[in-house]
């Protein structure tokens, strides 16, 4: 039982089926401090990734690349660009392989995290999706079972959300409203929660 192109296809399919209500919620959240397009990014991104899964190659790296391209082809907002950055970083690390161990996933997430930090220029603690991912990486390291891994990730993402709600946003559009952002959930962090929960645990 390992992580293959099939796992990617499944994950995209499952999320795409529930992305509409998630998108609506995220648009609303993003509208409070930003430009209200985070949900649009998610919906268009997953719809487009879904439309290309049948053409995904067995090569895990190439499959992740194609997902990244499908994401960016329909969205260039920050979340879309960062998610594509993450997919490409993971793709580079798995290029030439057709399968990976589930236990490698936290390492791949770490590579994705590093790539997003260097691209976006944010730091941990700025109240972004990076803080959620950081919690997820820490909580899943050492776990080998996908179901167990998802539970740990889900809890970690929720805890991070709660931990940061009373802190100010320090980067991106929301930074302009730093004061106002205290007490509000960061839309990108909420997005991570919803994504983790929507991943099929198998």
């Amino acid at each position: 039982m390992s992580f293959t192109t099939k796992s990617i296809q499944n994950t995209i399919s499952e999320i795409q089926q529930v992305v509409d209500p998630i998108g609506a919620e995220l648009n609303e959240l993003d509208g409070r401090l930003g430009d209200g397009d985070l949900g649009v990014t998610m919906i268009n991104g997953f719809n487009n990734m879904k439309s290309i899964i049948d053409d995904m190659p067995e090569d895990l790296g190439q499959a992740l690349f194609s997902a990244a391209k499908a994401m960016t082809a329909v969205s260039g907002s920050s979340f879309g660009t960062l998610m594509a950055t993450a997919l490409m970083a993971a793709g580079k690390a798995t290029k030439g392989r057709e399968a990976a161990e589930w236990s490698e996933v936290p390492e791949l997430l770490q590579l994705a995290q590093d790539a997003m930090i260097s691209r976006g220029g944010a730091s941990l603690g700025d109240k972004t999706l990076l803080d959620s991912l950081d919690a997820v990486i820490k909580a899943t390291t050492g776990i080998n079972d996908p179901e167990e891994m998802q539970k740990a990730a889900s809890n970690a993402a929720k805890e991070a959300l709660a931990e940061f709600i009373n802190k100010p946003n320090k980067i991106g559009r929301a930074r302009v409203y730093a004061e106002k952002s205290i007490g509000l959930e960061d839309p990108g962090m909420v997005a991570i929660c919803r994504l983790v929960d929507a991943i099929p645990a198998k």
Binding site: T72, S75, G76
Partner: protein
């Protein structure tokens, strides 16, 4: 909001349409979302040069498309970075197998999205690299010069890169000379009044009837100091002191100067700025080899101006004065 516009949500697209209708031989609208402007006649067999950035600064960015300038340009919303998609479209349009240089003003979204676009291009075997323009000395200290915003220096860097590409430079040569141009540019602006982003509907900032802000950014980012407005000679002297503190001028230095209007300031006043700046610079022995005065990098109806100095050497001067075909650059 007092503007000659229609629906604010359609502002950018309608203005682009108007630009393309005005210069049908030079600009064409392309891309899946109509947010790539490109040359009507693509160049052949040369390094591509592209850019992209927020709207509301015409001629920056897309206005500098033309022969000996940019091949294509991604267009964002007013004061907001374009998506990476039109950037990637621009790169693909401009690529003729010799690679593409992306000239990027130093704003977070522009950088990130161009990084992504370059990486995407690479997956399609297109070599695309970035050069960053960060010329606004008021936006960060000398030690943090890499964090500076890109302003009117963009015009020089685009001209230099475009001319180098037209002359047959390789990608790394174009990138090197563009980097040199960028390193040699210093700019500073002053604002007398705010502009209004159509979708916001009210002025971005407020400034008193007798005040001027030195160092204000082209989106209204805070500058280095607000004060009562003095004579234009006094204002120019302050601007120059910031520029020359950052990069002292030596007697014999050759420079280009760009006196740029922000959109709402009449050209009469820009000539007064040039007049004073020229006298002061020549006083310290600088030779102004190349002078431009006009609206080259604007903020819609913002009143104010900027001064850009670029240190010249033979290569930069040759490229700066090379022929180009662009509505916003006279040869």
């Amino acid at each position: 909001m007092k503007k000659l516009i229609n629906n604010p949500d359609k502002y950018v697209d309608e203005v682009l349409e108007g630009m393309a209708l005005t210069y049908p031989d030079i600009y064409a609208i392309g891309g899946a979302t109509g947010r790539m402007l490109h040359r009507v006649t693509p160049a052949q067999d040369k390094v591509g040069v592209v850019s992209g950035g927020g709207f509301g600064h015409i001629p920056v960015f897309a206005g500098y498309i033309g022969e000996g300038f940019l091949d294509a340009c991604a267009v964002g919303d007013v004061f907001a970075s374009p998506d990476m998609n039109p950037m990637l479209e621009s790169i693909k349009f401009a690529d003729k197998g010799k690679g593409v240089l992306c000239i990027v003003a130093n704003y977070g979204g522009d950088r990130m999205n161009f990084d992504m676009a370059c990486e995407m291009a690479e997956m399609d075997d297109i070599e695309a690299i970035k050069v960053i323009v960060a010329d606004d000395v008021a936006s960060a200290s000398k030690e943090e010069a890499k964090k500076r915003r890109g302003v009117a220096g963009f015009v020089y860097v685009s001209k230099i890169a475009g001319a180098a590409a037209a002359k047959g430079y390789t990608l790394s040569q174009v990138a090197d000379v563009a980097q040199k141009a960028s390193d040699n540019c210093r700019s500073i602006g002053v604002a007398l009044s705010s502009c209004t982003v159509p979708q916001a509907g009210k002025p971005t900032f407020v400034i008193a009837e007798d005040e001027i802000e030195i160092g204000m950014g082209i989106h209204g980012e805070p500058g280095v100091g607000r004060s009562k407005i003095g004579t234009v000679d006094e204002t120019v002297d302050k601007m120059l002191s910031h520029l020359l503190a950052d990069r002292p001028a030596q007697a014999g230095d050759r420079m280009a100067i760009l006196v740029n209007g922000l959109g709402g300031t009449p050209i009469e006043e820009l000539y007064l700025i040039l007049r004073r700046a020229k006298a002061q610079l020549e006083d310290v022995g600088v030779k102004l080899e190349h002078i431009r005065v006009g609206n080259y990098a604007t903020s819609m109806e913002m009143a104010g101006a900027s001064i850009t100095l670029m240190q010249l050497d033979d290569e930069l001067e040759t490229l700066l004065t090379a022929d180009a075909v662009c509505p916003f650059w006279e040869n």
